[in-house]
């Protein structure tokens, strides 16, 4: 193929002529340093190219080399525990190669070729296989068995297959396909902008347990679901996503730092290897893939980063795993889109965003789901997607927020006033919602407790009523409240302070199982019920609220997971405390 020639450079956007053979979304190498770029518009022989590296030093006349293929990621063992930039360049290897600062034009394979993997075949010569079938397994980390799948759009008869220790470049077998013989390897590539195929989508009906009480109890997300957490700066988006990345009951986590802080990625890198998965006791890093395109890294690669991340996530989903992906922040992705669009002088839509922002956002979230995987083993996998949104001034009318809410089913509304009181997670219980409640009640009722749905409704009722009463107090003071209403105000406060508020940095409080959440909530409900009874029997409210057992409800958060029987004792104590009131 012929080389193109640069005629225009405007920040991350380069235009080149003599590009007749280029196709949309092809990767090209720009300039003598061969900076990676992607074709995003074609007009006759002229191509607009977004360049994934700093374009300083490029000028008209510099060459553009075609690669002949679209932007794609490498998929195979070695993804877990790694950190990549927005176009899957391995940042840890780059640091080893070029030092603490990222130099341009570094060309390193995403997955290391010198590393060897122990492959155990699951098929035999003569077996007929189709896309999605398991060829064999590789123990990728101590937490995860990597299934080597027949790549999508591939099928045939296994001619050869061997177990043993292999590098990613080495064939482990041979497949006869209608197009001829193809070597079987431990890795393959897949274009990031194309969703990976599956057999069918299934109804999401199992909760993704995050260990965060306000989420799991009040606004749960399903495995395979999608959720957004918009909020102003400092409201707690990142800490929340980190919490989900740490504690969610997924087998694989893909965390995308898209246009955010370098230190936040360093935080994950330094912390996750030392944190233990609460279920297996293994380091959390063993199930994690990181994509980091921080705010000071090239803008165009920020645009690509969420596609790189979600393609990797789909790959693990296809093995039949539950995968959760976090993107922090999708607003920075949208801004990258806007910047490139502006430089191409496209017609701006709302707030300068291109008209296709909404469709791109919806298409991204649509890649989430619980699916029946390809292949003959009828496996199911799920990909849950949680996106942070950072609207200007925290204003929810922002187009990125509004378009996101059209695409996702859970909305966690961060509230700056709560953050100012350091009530974390600062998720507002009045404006948030989950559209999965109906789907999940069956599971929660069966797995946790039959009265779970009812208990949740009770809690939401108290919190809603509190808001109404607060309005009244603001106008005319507390005087007019009935005793029952005062009790309700107190119970609501207990719900907020002793249940919804959760310290991310406390060893015992950072994570709560569904069982613990249920028991905590139940003691508050029990206390409330007993209080109502006592009130109706004429016991003074201050005697009820002065019961020492309340002090224990306050400390419920610190009860260790292996000591949940404590709650049964506490329930008894509540009952006897109230009995004593009557004497």
């Amino acid at each position: 193929m012929e080389n193109g020639e640069i005629i225009k450079v405007s920040g991350p956007l380069v235009e080149a002529v003599n590009m007749k053979s280029a196709r949309m979304y092809d990767v090209v190498y720009v300039g003598r340093q061969r900076l990676v770029g992607e074709v995003i518009r074609l007009r006759l022989d002229r191509a607009s190219i977004q360049v994934y590296e700093d374009t300083s030093g490029l000028g008209p006349g510099d060459p553009v080399f075609p690669s002949g293929g679209p932007l794609a990621v490498e998929l195979g063992p070695g993804l877990l525990t790694s950190i990549f930039d927005g176009i899957q360049r391995p940042l840890d290897l780059i640091a080893r190669e070029t030092g603490s600062f990222i130099r341009r034009g570094v060309n390193l394979a995403a997955l290391p070729r010198d590393r060897r993997w122990d492959f155990t075949p699951a098929v035999r010569p003569g077996d007929k296989v189709t896309a999605g079938d398991v060829l064999g397994t590789v123990p990728e980390t101590e937490l995860l068995v990597h299934k080597i799948l027949v790549p999508p759009e591939t099928a045939g008869e296994v001619l050869e297959i061997a177990g043993g220790s292999f590098g990613l470049d080495q064939p482990v077998g041979l497949l006869r396909t209608p197009e001829g013989q193809v070597p079987l390897k431990l890795m393959h590539t897949w274009p990031v902008r194309r969703p990976r195929p599956y057999l069918e989508k299934l109804r999401p009906e199992i909760p993704l347990v995050t260990g965060q009480r306000v989420v799991d109890t009040l606004f749960p997300v399903a495995k395979g679901g999608s959720a957004a957490i918009p909020g102003p700066f400092g409201a707690g988006k990142t800490v929340f996503l980190h919490q989900v990345a740490k504690w969610a009951d997924s087998q694989v986590i893909v965390y995308i730092g898209c246009g955010e802080r370098g230190n936040e990625m360093a935080d994950v890198l330094l912390e996750f290897p030392n944190l233990k998965d609460p279920r297996s006791g293994r380091p959390l890093m063993d199930r994690t893939v990181l994509i980091a395109n921080t705010s000071n890294m090239p803008v165009a690669a920020r645009e690509a980063s969420i596609y790189t991340g979600i393609t990797i996530a789909e790959y693990y989903r296809d093995m039949g795993y539950d995968v959760a992906l976090m993107a922090d922040s999708t607003s920075r992705w949208a801004e990258a889109l806007r910047e490139i669009s502006g430089r191409m002088e496209e017609m701006p839509g709302e707030e300068g965003y291109p008209a296709y922002l909404g469709t791109r956002l919806a298409a991204f979230y649509e890649r989430s789901g619980r699916v029946k995987c390809l292949g003959s083993r009828s496996a199911t996998g799920s990909l849950s997607v949680v996106g942070a949104v950072s609207p200007p001034g925290g204003d929810l009318n922002d187009p990125v927020v509004q378009m996101t809410l059209r695409a996702v089913k859970v909305f966690w509304a961060l509230d700056d006033q709560l953050a100012y009181q350091r009530h974390f997670p600062a998720i507002n219980w009045l404006s948030s919602y989950s559209l999965y409640l109906g789907n999940l009640e069956g599971f929660l009722g069966a797995e946790v407790a039959p009265e779970w749905p009812e208990l949740r409704r009770w809690a939401m009722g108290i919190l809603g009523r509190e808001a109404e009463l607060k309005e009244i107090i603001r106008l005319i003071g507390t005087e007019t409240l009935s005793l029952q209403e005062r009790l309700l105000m107190d119970t609501a406060r207990s719900l907020r302070e002793d249940f919804l508020h959760q310290f991310a940095f406390d060893e015992n409080d950072a994570y709560a199982t569904l069982q613990k959440q249920y028991l905590m909530l139940k003691t508050i409900a029990l206390f409330h019920q007993k209080s109502e009874e006592a009130l109706s029997e004429g016991v003074p409210l201050n005697r009820i609220l002065g019961l020492p057992v309340r002090e224990q409800i306050v400390r419920n958060r610190y009860v260790a997971e292996d000591n949940l029987s404590h709650f049964h004792a506490l329930e008894k104590e509540i009952v006897t405390s109230f009995e004593a009131l009557h004497n």
């Binding site: 008209p60 603490s100 990222i102 370098g262 935080d267 001034g393 009181q421 350091r422």
Partner: protein, 464 residues
């Protein structure tokens, strides 16, 4: 290297701070050009866009007095650079790095591209060393750590300069004596303001360990785009090459953003909110992310940018985008200032995101995190009670709310308020917090673990 001699006389257009040269070849994006006036004086420009044989330049010194037919342009084939060497210390430069203290140009050991290169996130070390500023509102509640970027959001007439100078004077890392230095970048501030800092640095002797880049209100506005990058290039050299712990003060970022807006408007770009370019976030990030610590290198860069919020509005794009990039913010409040509280730090919306890794046992004290969380919660409640009291009268408040109200008044007067030359040790700050909490019912102190309460809460009977 390209032939140095080639000069173009083909300036076609001058718009605002921009200059369009035609018929150029071999010019590259972001490179620097020398613009030569008929009288032989020179200005510097930077390539913003290349289209065919046309190059668009921004002129740092402005275009006043330029004439298309009499101006010559020579491209230098390199980005804007700063010559660095240990001799930078103790010197004062203009916004483009030229000496203005009467001294000679320092002999550079090497020239560095002022745009820097991004730190690989893998190479970052997480900042976790507590800096004691001696200021309770910061140390106690929104602690600063080494390598953090923590801006001050202020407004006209508020004492941000006094506070910043106090922080420069008092800051120390507990139990350590290390190479400490200040890089100061002024962008469009007044002579008086700059002079206030310079005097303070002289008085304390800090000037010997400082590098100053000064662009004043009457200096060319476009130069301000280069000034913070000059300063951060110097800081990176001092921190990561010489191993110094550098505090970078950038003031005032609002003037910086306005210079950027001027360029954007002259380029006819689709304006973003309030006319600022839509890439303001990315541009500010390219400044603020140049802070931190790097693994296996001894030094650090701590940034304290100052910005004035137009109309005291935190949602204005400049503070808003800054807050989205930095690791917290210290917000000054006009009402506290009017009430005579110094420093008038509005602690509730203020935040230090790196606090939790910098405090606690072995760093400050084990009660620090719980205590701070409780002070925030109780003060927030007290302020709510104060609002209620305004409408309904204090008598209408519940007993608890009245206690909260008393607490928050005392908190402002005794905890936040302190002298401009008073440096409180962090443990003193924590003890002051406990004394205030002792006035509240113990059952209200839900944010504090029982063991900590038992150990640290002063006995209320003692006060009685």
């Amino acid at each position: 290297m390209k032939s140095l001699a080639k000069e173009y006389r083909s300036v076609r257009e001058i718009v605002g701070p921009l200059l369009l040269v035609e018929g150029v070849s071999g010019v590259t994006f972001n490179e620097i050009a020398e613009i030569i006036l008929p009288d032989g004086s020179r200005r510097r420009g930077q390539v913003l866009e290349l289209d065919g044989d046309r190059a668009l330049l921004q002129v740092f010194e402005g275009t006043t007095g330029l004439n298309p037919s009499q101006t010559r342009v020579r491209f230098e084939g390199r980005p804007l650079q700063l010559g660095v060497s240990p001799d930078l210390l103790g010197r004062v430069f203009d916004g483009l790095g030229g000496p203005i203290d009467g001294g000679p140009r320092p002999i550079p050991g090497e020239y560095l591209d002022i745009n820097g290169t991004p730190i690989n996130p893998v190479s970052r070390d997480y900042p976790s060393e507590f800096i004691e500023t001696g200021i309770s509102a910061i140390d106690g509640l929104n602690s600063l750590v080494r390598g953090q970027k923590l801006p001050i959001f202020s407004g006209s007439g508020l004492p941000h300069n006094r506070l910043t100078a106090q922080i420069c004077r008092q800051s120390r890392v507990l139990g350590q004596a290390e190479k400490f230095g200040i890089v100061f970048a002024a962008m469009g501030i007044t002579f008086e303001e700059a002079d206030f800092f310079i005097r303070d640095f002289r008085q304390t002797g800090a000037i010997e360990r400082s590098v100053l880049f000064i662009n004043l209100a009457d200096d060319p506005a476009i130069e301000r785009i280069a000034t913070p990058r000059m300063a951060l290039t110097a800081a990176e050299y001092l921190a990561f090459e010489l191993g110094m712990h550098i505090l970078v003060i950038l003031t005032d970022l609002t003037n910086y953003a306005e210079a950027l807006r001027e360029i954007s408007a002259a380029r006819n770009e689709v304006p973003g909110r309030r006319g600022y370019p839509s890439y303001l976030y990315t541009d500010l990030a390219s400044i603020f992310e140049r802070a931190g610590r790097i693994k296996e290198r001894p030094g650090s860069i701590t940034q304290m940018p100052i910005l004035s919020m137009p109309e005291d509005d935190k949602t204005h794009p400049i503070p808003d985008l800054t807050g989205y990039i930095t690791e917290g913010q210290i917000i000054l409040s006009r009402s506290l200032h009017q009430a005579g509280i110094y420093p008038p730090v509005d602690v509730l919306p203020s935040l230090s995101r790196l606090r939790d890794k910098g405090i606690g046992p072995g760093r400050t004290r084990e009660d620090h995190a719980n205590l701070a969380s409780q002070l925030f919660a109780s003060y927030a409640r007290g302020r709510e009670a104060r609002e209620l009291a305004v409408v309904l009268g204090e008598a209408a408040l519940s007993e608890i709310d009245q206690a909260m109200l008393r607490f928050s008044d005392a908190f402002e007067k005794e905890f936040i308020n302190q002298g401009e030359s008073e440096s409180r040790a962090v443990l003193e700050t924590l003890d002051a917090g406990w004394r205030l909490l002792a006035g509240l019912p113990r059952s209200e102190l839900k944010r504090i673990r029982t063991e900590i309460l038992d150990r640290f809460l002063p006995d209320p009977n003692r006060n009685a």
